[in-house]
Every structure is written in C-alpha cells, then in structure tokens.
Symmetry: C2
Subunit: 140 residues, 2 copies
C-alpha cells in the first residue's frame, strides 16, 4: 500500500503532531521514538520540510515541528509528497491507456473504491489524528 518511506513519514508527522506546541524534535530523537533508521528518516523529513508540510530550524535547540498551518494538512498531502499521486490516480493494473473511455477490467470497482479512500485520506487532518492519539494513547 504505502512505501516504507511513506510509512516512516506519516508516523514522524504524527509524532510531531503529538508534541506540545513550541517543542521541537531532532532527527535522532524521532528516529529513536519510532524505531527507524535515523539517516533514512532524515531524508524523508527533509523532503516533507521542503514541501512545506513540516517545519524545521537549524542550529542548537533546533529540530522539526509542526506549525499551526502544518497541523491542518491531511494524510493525502503527506502521502502524495512521498509516494506521489499514483495510489489514488494511476490505473490499478498499471495500464497507461486506462481511462473512463477505455477502462480496464477493474476500472469501475477501483474507482468507486478509491473515491472512498481519497475522501478518507483528505479528511484525516493531522491535528485531529494527534488528538485521538493523545486521548487513546495510540502507538506510533
């Protein structure tokens, strides 16, 4: 479903979202917390920061965090940033010519299905997820 990069990315964003406002976390801290390789995670965080989905400051006391704006983004944006738009848009069977006009055998089913997925992902706002993480002590 999601690449490893994408899973790490989502988890990292959710971790940042569950921090107190004003607190930043460094790569090492996040990597330890999520139990994922730090240098690899660093690349992913860079990518998310470059895309404006998370925020960062360099230097002592620096690290990554979510601005209020960042916390308003949704899962779809994170996934799209890391894995690209194919999950929701490319033909499930990989046919380049697949379209409403020339559908593949799974086109109708896949589309109906992905409309639902798309809706869900676009309505999973980071800050809301963070709330339920805190409330229900969920794992990351």
């Amino acid at each position: 479903m999601f690449s490893k990069s994408c899973k790490y990315g989502i988890r990292a964003v959710l971790f940042l979202a569950s921090l107190e406002t004003g607190i930043r976390a460094g790569v090492k801290e996040i990597a330890t917390e999520l139990n994922v390789p730090a240098p690899f995670l660093a690349k992913i965080l860079q990518q998310l920061a470059k895309a404006g989905l998370i925020s960062s400051v360099k230097g002592p006391g620096g690290g990554f965090y979510l601005s209020p704006e960042n916390a308003d983004s949704n899962l779809s944006e994170i996934i799209n940033c890391i894995d690209g738009p194919d999950l929701l848009h490319a033909c499930v069977l990989g046919l380049p010519a697949c379209s409403h006009k020339h559908p593949c055998p799974l086109h109708v089913q896949a589309n109906a299905f992905r409309q639902g997925l798309k809706f869900q992902l676009e309505h999973q706002i980071i800050k809301d997820l963070a709330l339920s993480i805190k409330k229900e002590h969920l794992n990351l």
Copy 2:
C-alpha cells in the same frame, strides 16, 4: 497498491480467462498481448501454476489455460499468491505490534476500509470478470 508482478499476474489470468475453453496460450503470446516482458511474465505464470491458480501443459501445443476450477478462483487468491497477504492484513503503518489491543492511529479506519476491499476482492470471480471483459470489450 499492487507490485508490478501482481499487476502482470492479474492481467495474465484475465487474458487466459477470456480465451475460448480448450485454447491454450504460450508465454510469448501472452506477453505480446499484454505488452510486458516475456521472461519476467514466465516467472509469474510459473508461480501461479505452482499454486494451482492457473494450469499448464508442456511440450508442443502446450501453454497456459484456466481449468473450470481455476476460473472459479477470485482476485484475492491471485494477489495473495504474488504479493502475499500483507495488503489485507499487515498494519498500514508497518508497526509490528499493531493490533486491536494496541492499535496504530490509522488502525480503525484502515480496518474498516480493508474489510470492504477484502470483500470486493474475494467476490471478484475470474470467470465473472472474463464475462464483462468480453461483453464490454475491456482492455488488458
């Protein structure tokens, strides 16, 4: 969503399903038809044949085909054979410890979603798909 192997595999099975009963197709023919690399497809067909999801005969005039029993299998079985059960069963965020008891932040949503996907995939019977392919002249 699906690996390339899995996409090729599904398409190949659907192609075999759309053949007249009694007709067999060789790797090269299938590969040409689907526009995928023949040696790679051969490996996938072998895997499906070994698992009993498609049938094959060696020698002159041989090739791959679907027995009536094969045509009664569903998409879930094909996908499970090639990509394994993770799509429907592993934690979407890749957490080894994720469970109903210790859920990840997406556990509930993912589960609801995948129940639907699972149901759909298990009810997409190959021979039914083949019928709609013929009727609606769908691409493979």
